[in-house]
Amino acid sequence: MSHSTKDALLAWVLRACAVAAGLIVVLIVVFLCLEAAPALRNAGWARFFTDPSWHPNRRAADGTFNLTPMLWGTFFAMTGAVLVATPLGVLSAAFLHFYAPKGLAVYYRRLIELLAGIPSVVYGFWGLVTLVPLINRVHPPGASLLAGIAILSIMILPTIALMADAALANVPRAYLHGAAALGLSRWGTLRGVVLPAARSGLFTGVILETGRAIGETMAILMVCGNVVQTPRSLFDPIRTLTANIALEMAYAMGDHRSALFVSGLMLMGQIVLLVAAAEYIGRGRVHG
């Protein structure tokens, strides 16, 4: 083979790889839609929000399919975790750049990376044997929204901390020199110069951690108690959308199975929105 035919062949092989990799998302959406179609046809979108309860059945006509308690569960757990993890993560990044002695910063960054690598099932297990009994002593049953928020916060903390770390590293040196020349204190520099300058990176971090919080399954499933209800307090057990899928997929049939794919489709929709938002911010339109 001549050089050019070999090169052309190579280019086609590579293109085929890229197209295959790119099509996986499409394939996922297509299969979610295909599997969700029966439930949407037999029950329709509205019933997922207006039915009196979640008592699914393989025949849509015989069951009730209200997903709103699960949506609220996901929403509360996610919001709580983001509210706890974001300040901790940003402060961690500030620690790395402005407070920690140099030797310590290296170890702290390594620690956060390791934290990011611990699997969710291990966090869930730890929550189950340590955190849930602890909360149970304060306010039974222990397996609760609070436990979910705590575990979820620990799990998404590395995401925001590492993103904030990168965002702070990108702040131009000249800004810091300017702040020093103005005689700003360390905190004044951080609050008045560094954090505003790093804003778009921090926003992207918050969006990414939100995505992780929504999609997290195993840890939440293990510590939240999984009762289908809209929580009234932090100590109420909840069930999230993801936990619902994991719990019921094993025996779901017919329209019930299909309804679980509808909730998968909802999750997918939320993630697409978040990625689009991250993209929008990444282009700097929110900047300044």
Binding site: H3, S4, D7, A11, V13, L14, R15, A16, C17, A18, A20, A21, G22, I24, V25, L27, I28, F31, L32, L88, L91, S92, F95, Y99, A100, L111, E113, L114, G117, I118, P119, V121, V122, F125, W126, L128, V129, I154, A161, R186, W187, G188, R191, L208, G215, E216, M222, T242, I245, A246, A250, G264, L267, M268, I271, V272, L274, V275, A278, E279
Partner: protein, 285 residues
Amino acid sequence: MADARAARAADAAAAALVWSSAVLVTGVFAWVLFDLVRLGAGQIDWAFLTGEPEDFGRGGGIGTILVSTGLILGVCMAVAAPLGLGTAVLLAEFTPDGSLLGLLVRRSLDVLAGVPSIVFGLFGNAFFCVYLGMGFSILSGGLTSACMVLPILIRSTEEGFRSVPDEYRMGAAALGMSRAAALRHILLPAASPGLVVGLTLGIGRALAETAALIFTSGYVARMPESLFDSGRALSLHIYDLSMNVSGGDPRACATALVLVALLLAINGSASWMAERWLHRKVSEA
């Protein structure tokens, strides 16, 4: 003067806040590790690592689980590595910035990176298990995790190619090498650190995964006889023991400790390699 004093007080308060959040994060990490070691370390011995689970996992070991996990990882990497390498080469070397194909593939990989693992599980179940008829099998689980690890694998492989200095490409072109030959003999060896880091991170990600495997590779804990057998992954074993088997906690903890140790080793070596190879390459360039 009062202003200056207030500013100093705010500065001190902020410093206290920053230090205490760092201490809190470190404390939680230490707490998790301490609990795992305290509850699990005593049970880990050779018999545990090689034995078969007995009495639904309350006794015995995790030998068969380790084999299943290894097979799932093997399938995952056998598929994801070539596909990821090809895509990364295309993105880094063969597409001009702003080409439509490059843009679309990148965008789609961004979304893929954000897909929750339970959705991968749904997809894997519908596509690999049911549509392609593979059933609950190591093959289904491996292929599902391959889809999952692709974005992270492609990103760091691409990074590896981008850190190769342009002089290498020009040198190859000046020698009249075809692009295929340049890729094979010059770029690939020079970019291999990125690929190795990507593979390592991918293995870590797949190893940590649970939700995507419940409905694809299944629960069966005995020794798999072929890739079409169902096989239980380490992470799933932990889940099953702690949620579905009463009295399974001690063994679950020991398994968790093994998994965490594996992951710390894998992720630690990935970041060590990334620091050592990728950054030095960048600074040399």
